[in-house]
């Protein structure tokens, strides 16, 4: 399984043609206390870069963009009651949604963990 990152601080884990999407540790630290997450419904078709989810901290609302194109399999049901999971476990239990990738070639335009770490370092 491989993990890729966007410059907007989303990550996607790819296992076969299924991607799991979330936001990075850096993103959650910048957002602060997360109080609400709106995840996409099953069956929603997303194009790379589409607004896929909304994450609200105490201070502000932010869009989460889909790092790849595909069809949503499920949103993370745990985030409805426990949005703070995104603060606690942003890169594991705090995932946002899973989708079936329609164009795996898009992954080549994303950063791997080392490249993303270097990207964040410069921010």
């Amino acid at each position: 399984m491989s993990r890729y990152f966007t410059e907007d601080h989303e990550w996607v884990d790819v296992d076969g043609d299924v991607g799991t999407v979330g936001i990075s540790e850096y993103a959650q630290s910048q957002l602060g206390d997360i109080v609400f997450v709106d995840v996409p419904e099953e069956g929603k078709a997303l194009t790379k870069g589409d607004e896929a989810a909304v994450v609200e901290s105490v201070k502000a609302a932010s869009d989460v963009y889909s790092p790849v194109s595909g069809t949503v399999i499920e949103g993370n049901p745990a985030l409805t009651e426990t949005p703070g999971l995104v603060n606690e476990e942003p890169e594991s239990d705090g995932w946002f949604f899973k989708l079936t990738l329609s164009d795996p070639d898009e992954l080549s335009g994303l950063m791997d963990e080392i490249a993303y770490a270097a990207f964040v370092e410069k921010l």
Binding site: V35, V54, V58, K59, A60, A61
Partner: protein
């Protein structure tokens, strides 16, 4: 438009605690033209800490003004011409909330005004206190011709202070001097344990009650302290010379009850307390009647009708405002924030949300909004539109969290 008169880029200014905030781990943002800390450890934790213990806020961006009569002018009458408060009835060391009003009744700013004692605690920062004054005249007195003429201290919002001063200079009569205390920093210590912590450093503050003030000494540093604030909690606001504010802030956070708190929690605390924020819930387009600030229009001043903006405001008060500021409890967890609209059944805009967010002590999303008067009764259900999504909310009496001020006759 005044925009053409202002340079496009005004450099963000720094306040005396700038380096202190950074050393404390504050995340700095631009606010009201200054670099200010929005948070330290996190807005939620900071908010809850203030509600259970005590938090230290730097509010040095706010404008501190002293009004003094020169040569027999009447400072009380001058201030009453511009403010709807009973200034004549404000005893020494008493503080009052008031509004700076435009001719059309719009709110130019909200503020706190205090009647200073005869021994002007800001004498050291007062231009009149220069040693060139004639011998025998004490700078502590308001005027060489009338030592009994009162002086007043006013705290106004940071983002509006320059416009406020321009308005005051335009409309105050000759003979009223305004001194902008730019060298004074301002701290707020708020929370149920604020009195315990501050009294250890400055004995005697615990004897004051809400909306009173006094001069104190801390290791030779003159402090002007009021028992007031903008969080709904008990607490104090402390005016301190800028060169001593780092030492005072260090001493305050050394007390076990006290942590530094950023602007983020300041905003969520005042929202829960039902307190309007200028530039968001109040602006030149809204009046005190619409904003539900009728308490700021004192009875004597209403009957006299002799303050700027009185005519339209009193007419609106008699007829009833068509739009009212209300509190809203939002259904579901998603915050509905400033910029969202209040909509009718057809989806047409009928009002606006002016502040909103997640309320840590309520555990729900809350907001302030202006709604048509017929929807302003607590218990009324209203619909809100935000980014294409409709939310349901219930009009709720404010404050959302009970105020815990220490009043005269209380414990």
């Amino acid at each position: 438009m005044s925009d053409t008169e202002i340079p496009d880029e005004i450099a963000t200014q720094t306040l005396p605690l700038d380096a202190w905030h950074r050393a404390q781990g504050g995340r700095m943002v631009e606010f009201a033209g200054y670099h200010m800390p929005v948070q330290y450890e996190g807005i939620m934790a900071e908010h809850l800490w203030v509600r259970e213990s005590a938090g230290l806020f730097d509010v040095s961006h706010m404008g501190q003004l002293v009004f003094r009569a020169e040569g027999g002018a009447d400072v009380v009458a001058a201030l009453e011409a511009l403010l709807p408060a009973d200034i004549a009835g404000l005893a020494e060391n008493k503080q009052r909330y008031s509004l700076l009003l435009a001719e059309n009744g719009g709110i130019l700013d909200d503020l706190m005004v205090t009647h200073l004692p005869r021994e002007n605690p800001f004498a050291a920062d007062d231009e009149a206190a220069e040693p060139a004054e004639p011998a025998g005249w004490s700078p502590l007195d308001a005027s060489p011709t009338d030592p009994d003429a009162p002086t007043f201290y006013m705290v106004v919002n940071g983002a509006t202070k320059i416009d406020d001063i321009a308005h005051l200079l335009e409309f105050l009569p000759d003979g009223i001097a305004i001194n902008h205390l730019e060298e004074q920093a301002l701290l707020a210590l708020q929370g149920p344990k604020a009195a315990d912590a501050l009294a250890r450093l400055v004995p005697g503050v615990e004897a004051m009650v809400f909306m009173t003030a006094g001069a104190f000494d801390w290791n030779g540093v003159p402090l002007w302290i009021s028992r007031s604030g903008y969080t709904g909690e008990d607490g104090f606001e402390i005016s301190v010379p800028g060169e001593h504010v780092v030492a005072l802030a260090d001493a305050l956070i050394a007390e076990p009850e006290v942590k530094p708190i950023g602007l983020g929690a300041r905003d969520s605390l005042r929202l829960e307390a039902g307190l309007p924020l200028y530039g968001h819930d109040l602006d030149p387009e809204t009046t005190p009647v619409q904003a539900d600030l009728g308490f700021a229009l004192s009875k004597r001043r209403r009957e006299a009708g002799d303050f700027m903006g009185a005519e339209p405001i009193l007419a609106e008060r008699a007829a009833g405002a068509t739009t009212k500021r209300v509190g809203l409890l939002i259904a579901g967890r998603q915050p509905v924030r400033e910029g969202a609209t209040v909509v009718d059944a057809s989806g047409a805009d009928i009002g606006r949300v002016t502040s909103g967010g997640f309320a840590p002590s309520v555990g729900a999303a809350i907001a302030m909004a202006y709604v048509p008067a017929e929807l302003a009764t607590p218990g009324t259900t209203v619909s809100l539109s935000q980014r294409g999504k409709v939310h349901t909310a219930t009009v709720t009496a404010m404050p959302f969290i009970p105020h815990r001020y220490v009043r005269a006759g209380g414990k």
